[in-house]
Every structure is written in C-alpha cells, then in structure tokens.
Amino acid sequence: MRKEHWRALRRDQALYWLMLPGILFYIVFKYVPMYGVLISFQNYSIGKGIWGSEWVGFKHFIDFFTRTPDAWQLIRNTLLLNVYELLFAFPAPILLALLLNELRVVLFRRFIQTVSYLPHFLSTVVIVGMVVNFLSPSSGIVNHVLVMLGIEPIMFMAEPGWFRTIYVASEIWQTLGWGTILYLAAIAGVDPTLYEAARMDGANRFQQIRHITFVGMLPVVIILLVLNLGKMMEIGYQKIILLYNPTLYDTADVINTFVYRRGLINADFSFAAAVGLFQAVIGFVLVVAANKLARKTAHGSLW
C-alpha cells in the first residue's frame, strides 16, 4: 500500500505545493488559536492566562442547562428560527435565480437583479427600523392594508407568535437578491448544448428548468445546505437584539442573546466559550450526518 501512496504524492507534488499557502493559513490562523477552546473548561482569568487559570471541567456546560432560566426554551427558539430560515429563506434565492434566468429581456433581467440586492447594503439598523415602522398598528402600512380588507389591525411586534415570521421575512428582504448571485453563476456554468438536446427530445420549458437548470445548480445548493445545517444551533444576536422587545422574549430570546446579556462584554469568557463549543459540537455532528446523506444522492457533497 505504502508504495502506491508515495507514488501518488510524488506525481501530484506540484498540487501540494500549490496548496501550501492555504494550508499554512489554516494552521496559523485557525488551528494555532484553537487552544482557546480550552477556556470552556476553565474559569478563565486574564491575569492568570490560559495555563494558570483553574480547571472546572464541564461546570459551565452544566450551568448552562441548570442555572439558566429556560435553557430549553432558548434552544427551542434557536432551532425553530433556523428551521424557519431553512424552509423559507434558503429556497427563496434559488427560486428567484431560476425565475430571473427565465426573463427574456436581458436588460430587464439585469435591472431587476441589481435592484434586488440593494437592501443587502443597508445596515441592519435601518432595515429593522423600517420593518418595525411598517408593522406599527397605528401608522404602519401593513395594518393599513389589513384595515382596508376589513381586518382588525394586529400589533405584530407584540405577539410572540409572529416573531419568527417577521424575522425570516426581514432576512429574506435583506439577503434575497444577494443570494441569487451565486446561483446565477452556477446557472451560467451549465452547458447550453444540454438545452438544445432536451428541446429536440421534446422537453417543454418547465421540464428544461427542472431537469437542466436546477440540476446544474444542485452541487452548489447541496454544499450550501450542508454548511447551513452546521449553523442550526446558533443564530446571530445582533439583529435579534434590534428587533426584540419585552413582549417577544418568549420566542425571540435565543442562545446567543442570552450569552450576550450574561456577559460577553463583561468578560465572562469561559461561559461564552463553553456555550459556543456546545453549539459547534452539535453543528459538527449535523454537518457530518448531512454530508453522508449528500454523498449517497451523488449530486455533490462537502467531502
């Protein structure tokens, strides 16, 4: 066996040299700092540093589940928000890319595409401000429309049940156009002769979309899906902090907002690190499982 390996290494040595800068980068900037993970098991104190701080084993992990009010609610909220995102925010750019690709007039398509990613460039603060404004029961446009349709105005921002929808909708608003760029690049890579062949075989437009365009995008879709699954246990706190208010804590409070309040700023590094590690482990398990599944369907996988 060994001899084959050596031969392979020698044959491909140029390729290995090519990867060298990248691998160095990973080692220096990603793996060397990994020792930081150790502080999850300590009571890290700046003065003593990592090697001097006392070890407390799994204390922080246990604390998270036992001394946190409603740890399970936080986990549930985090998971549910991610599931909603996966169900709605993930497919949206795919759909839009497919639809955009079907627009015949090139100039119109480029115009729509450019316009669609504009919200991505506005800071979250501005977008959230607008969202809250639109949903206001007294002055918001959404409620105006509801009233015109004869429905009572709804105080959206005060109903925990609406929060997930609002969050995901604002995510879509902000990221939809930007997300299509990658998918359009994938579509651009599809061999045009395939379309010719399909047409001659009698396939109609919709069949072409399904079997050629979409299939061409599939490898990219799959790796993005797998990567997203790795993030199921976390969701960034910045936007939620801007969006939430005391009436929404039941559904809006997630793991990261709790950690943020608990003391990301107050130097409670160990606790924050422990929670982060917990999220990472869960995510890793999910990624590995998803990747195995992806390999079976053979359209593309992470590794």
């Binding site: 404004n133 005391p246 009436t247 409070d253 608990r262 003391g263």
Partner: protein
C-alpha cells in the same frame, strides 16, 4: 491554440501586473503615512517646546506642578472612545497648547463608540493597553490593576507627584472608595463632574397645556387628569410615551413609577426612607402602581406600542404630536423644540419641563448625578515609559490650568475672562457644546474635572436653565457609592441581566392586560423574581451598603 495561448498570457500579465501595482500602492501609502508621523514628531521636538526657563506658569494654577513636566518632548498614546458627533484628533488646539506647556504630546488612538466595549475588553484581556487608557470604568480598573495591566498610582500620589488629584480625592472621599483595588493600590482616577447636575426631566407640550388650561401636575392623580384632558382634546394622540421600559437603572417606565409609588429607586433599588435596598414588588403600594399603569394603557393615555418602539419612532411621535408627554434627558427639551422649528418655523410647538411628582403620600425627588463619576476613568499602563512624567501629566489634567483647557478651550478663541468671570464666545446656545466638543473641550475622558460653578458662566439655553431651577427643590443626594467584592460581582453578572429581562417582560404583561392584576398574580410574580435571584441581590446590595457605611 497558439492564439489562445497569447491571449491567456496577456491576461495573466494583466492580472499579475494589477496585483503588483496594488501591493506597491499599499506599500507606498504606508511609507507615506509613516514619514508623516515621524516628520510631525520631528517638528514638534524641534520647534514647539521652548527651553524650561521660558515657560511662565502660576504654581497656584498648576497645583504646584513645575512646567514643563519634561525637558525632552515625549509622546504618549491615549485610548479613548470616540463620540459620533465629535471626531477625536491628535491635533486639537488644546492639546497642542498643553504640549507646549508641559512637553507632553498626546497621540490619540480612538475607538468608535460602536464596538468600543469589545475593543476595550480585548485590549485589557491581551494586556495591550495604551499609555493612557481612558473611557475606563472604575470596576474594570480595580479588576485588572492588580493583574499587572495598570500602573499603581498610590506610590506617586504619596510621593507628592500628583497634588491636584490628591486634593480632589480629599474633597470627595468616594473617589478613593471607587478607585482602590482589593490589594490597596489605586489604578485609576475617575471624572469629577459638576455638583448638582440633573440629568433627566419630565417634559410636556407647554402649548397644549396652555391651550387646555392645564396646570403642572403635583401628583399622579393630577397627572392622570392632565393626560385625560389631553386625550379628550386630541383623541388620535396617545399623550404619554415613555422612552424605555427599564425596571432598573437611571430612567425607565417601571423604574420611574416604582419610585413614584413606593419611594424605591427602581424595581430593585435604594429606599431612602428605610435606608436600605428593597424589591419594589414586595411593597404594599406595588399593586397601586400596576393598576395605575394599566389604566393609562387601557384608556389610551399611554401609547399602546410603548414597549415596542424604536428610538426613531419615539422621536417621530414626540415631534408629530402623536405623543405629548415624556421623561427624558433634559437636553431633549431644547433639542425637540429646535427640531420642530426647523420643520416649520412658525410652529407653536413648545416643550416645557415639569417638576417631579409622585403618588399621594410619597415624596417626589430627583437624584443628582454623583460628582465622582467612575464610568469615565483614566488609568496608566503598567509599563508606561517615564512614569513620573506620565503621572504628572495625568495630574495636570486635574489642575486649574488643565481644567481651564478641558472645560473652556483656548483663551481668546473659545472664551474670555471678564473680571474674574468666564464667558464663552460662542453666540448660539444650541451650538455651544457641540462645537466645543469638536475641539476636544468638554469631551468624555478628557475633561476629567468640572469647572468650579462659581467661576463659570456657562451659557445655558433658557430651557436648560428653567429645568435646573424647577428641579432644585427636589434634589437629593445620589445613592451611596458602593463597591462589590469579586464574588458579589460574579453574582450580579449572573443574575441581574436575566432578572431585569424577566421583570420587564412580566411587568409589560401586567400593564398590557395580558396578566390580570390581583394578589395571586402578584405573589407569583414575586416568587418567580426571587427564584431568579431578586432576594439574593437585595441582600447583597444591603451588605454592600453596610460595608460602605463603615
């Protein structure tokens, strides 16, 4: 194939060429920047610091410090939070003037207000602090000082190198309490603000009150009547709009009304009558507070979205007349009035301040901002070069001469002295403070000691002056200063944020009617709060209070 090869070759060349140019551009600009810095230092070193004998100074005004502090020009780095409305500049006139007089040049390394706390935390955690470290809190200094991050100032104070700061400490002993760490060292120096400074004020639309013949409310019942009258005249408006629903802190709906009904400083705070910390929910009058707020909500006297609003919506409602009454930073009175005038020069819009009020039987009061303000402290790096000079410069900022610079600016440019009285030269009262700040005057963490009020003639806008006058009879000393031990700080860190969030949520549910207000629900509320640590925290605060009293 050959043609393609040629094409690809030229494209590769272009790519490589582009990258090379970019790199060279970066390198060039880098060098350019570097040269500029060194040439600046050379200029300063060469020209701006005259020999020692040429500087005239009045020892009474420098507190005995001898100028210049350093014969050779020396530069210190200074970390500070940058205000969004006034950019930090190492070229500020007051600092150039101070450099001329002391020989100490300051190079600012500002961090923007957004993300500033993270940067500060990182610098502390990695022991990469600058020579002068500003915008620091006393508790952080007490925590990190003994760890070797900051310089212990006590020996220098004892040696007599910091006479001005020593004098301030003697005048306000709280400063010693707040800056002494567990190991006895003093690692930071706080800001000493003006005496009797009031931060907040109730405010209402004076034009509407005049129109409806309403007088200033003296208690909560009269406040309720006032709101009712306003609502009757303006049915589309929701007269009262609080700026936040914080239950604890310096301002917030629940905090304010807890004070008004129980006399306690917030849901969990200091009770002046009882001289101890208490949890307001356990007070007999808590149910009155809830009922009152619920009534305001139900009858449309308080904006139904009070818990949801973002700050831009708040501003919008106050300015468009959707809301008429609020409790806010006192500066808002003149700010809102001027914004309204900008929108429509002929408007009648006129916010006026209201005196504090409370429920029947409870005495209304207004806390003053404590003079010793340790949320803006300065510390020196433990390894600062030439510490004797550094501590003296720090002390200089607290001397009369230094205070003149940081409070007034440059004589003849920003202010003039007329027969012992100081007068600012800025014409527009609205622009005075903002413009001064742009030059580093009255800047957080630079102005470390407030001017003596008897000397100053600060141009207060007529509104600000009216507010101060109105609040005078209600001023009480701020809550006694307390210091937490490491364990207590841990407990607070663990419990307080979640408790606050819980209180906010549950109180909002009471007010909005989602939870009925009765004995049972209140008992449950108290039980849940105690489970989250309310009782523990109260006990802890009382222990700290006792210790502070010794």
């Amino acid at each position: 194939m050959k043609k393609m090869k040629a094409v690809y070759q030229s494209r590769t060349l272009r790519l490589v060429g582009g990258v090379t140019m970019a790199v060279m551009l970066a390198a060039c600009t880098q060098n350019g920047g570097g040269t500029n810095t060194t040439s600046k230092e050379a200029v300063d070193g060469g020209n701006s610091t005259p020999p020692a004998s040429a500087i005239e100074y009045d020892p009474a005004r420098t507190g005995g410090l001898e100028l210049p502090l350093s014969a050779e020009p020396i530069t210190y780095s200074f970390f500070i939070a940058e205000r969004a409305d006034a950019a930090v500049s190492s070229d500020w006139p007051i600092f150039r003037a101070m450099a001329e007089r002391t020989g100490v040049d300051i190079r600012f390394e500002p961090a923007p207000g957004a993300g500033f706390e993270e940067k500060r935390m990182l610098l502390l955690a990695t022991q990469s602090v600058t020579d002068f470290f500003g915008s620091l809190t006393g508790s952080l200094a007490r925590q990190y000082g003994p760890d070797g991050v900051f310089l212990d100032l006590k020996p220098y104070m004892d040696e007599g190198l910091m006479p001005n700061i020593k004098a301030w400490y003697e005048k306000y002993p709280d400063a010693t309490v707040v800056s002494t760490a567990a190991d006895g060292g003093i690692y930071s120096v706080p800001t000493f603000s003006e005496e009797n400074y009031i931060s907040f004020s109730w405010m209402a639309r004076g034009d509407v009150m005049d129109e409806l013949g309403i007088e200033q409310p003296g208690n909560t019942d009269e406040f309720y009547d006032m709101l009712k009258q306003m609502k009757a005249a303006y049915p589309d408006a929701y007269p009262f709009l609080p700026i936040s629903t914080a239950p604890i802190g310096r301002i917030g709906l629940y905090r304010d009304f807890a004070q008004m009904f129980t006399g306690i400083d917030g849901m969990l705070g200091y009770d002046r009558e009882a001289d101890e910390y208490r949890f307001a929910a356990e007070d007999a009058r808590f149910v009155d507070m809830l009922t009152y707020l619920h009534r305001l909500y139900e009858e449309g006297l308080m904006d139904p979205e009070f818990a949801l609003l973002q700050s831009n919506q708040f501003d919008e409602r106050m300015l468009s007349g959707k809301s008429l009454v609020t409790h806010h930073f006192k500066g808002r009175v003149s700010q809102f009035n001027s914004k309204a005038r900008q929108a429509d020069a002929s408007t009648d819009y006129r916010l006026v301040p209201m005196a504090p009020f409370a429920a029947e039987g409870v005495k209304p009061f207004q806390f003053i901002k404590p003079v010793v303000f340790d949320a803006q402290s300065i510390a020196l790096a433990a390894d600062v070069k030439q510490p004797e000079i550094a501590v003296q410069f720090l002390d200089y900022l607290y001397s009369d001469e230094g205070t003149d610079y940081t409070n007034y600016g440059i004589a003849g440019k920003n202010y003039e002295v007329n027969g012992g009285e100081v007068r600012y030269l800025e014409e527009e009262p609205d622009l005075l403070v903002p413009n001064l700040r742009k030059e580093g005057v009255l800047y957080d963490s630079i102005r470390m000691a407030a001017f003596d009020k008897s000397r100053q003639a600060r141009v207060l806008s007529p509104e600000d002056a009216a507010i101060d006058e109105l609040q005078q009879p209600y001023i009480v000393d701020s809550v006694p200063l307390m210091v937490a031990t490491e364990e207590e700080a841990e407990l607070e860190k663990e419990r307080l944020a979640n408790l606050t969030k819980h209180l906010e949520q549950k109180l909002t549910e009471f007010v909005m009617g989602k939870t009925a207000i009765n004995d049972e629900s209140i008992s449950q509320f108290v039980r849940e709060a105690n489970q989250l640590g309310a009782a523990e925290l109260v006990e802890m605060y009382n222990t700290q209070l006792e210790r502070a009293g010794e």
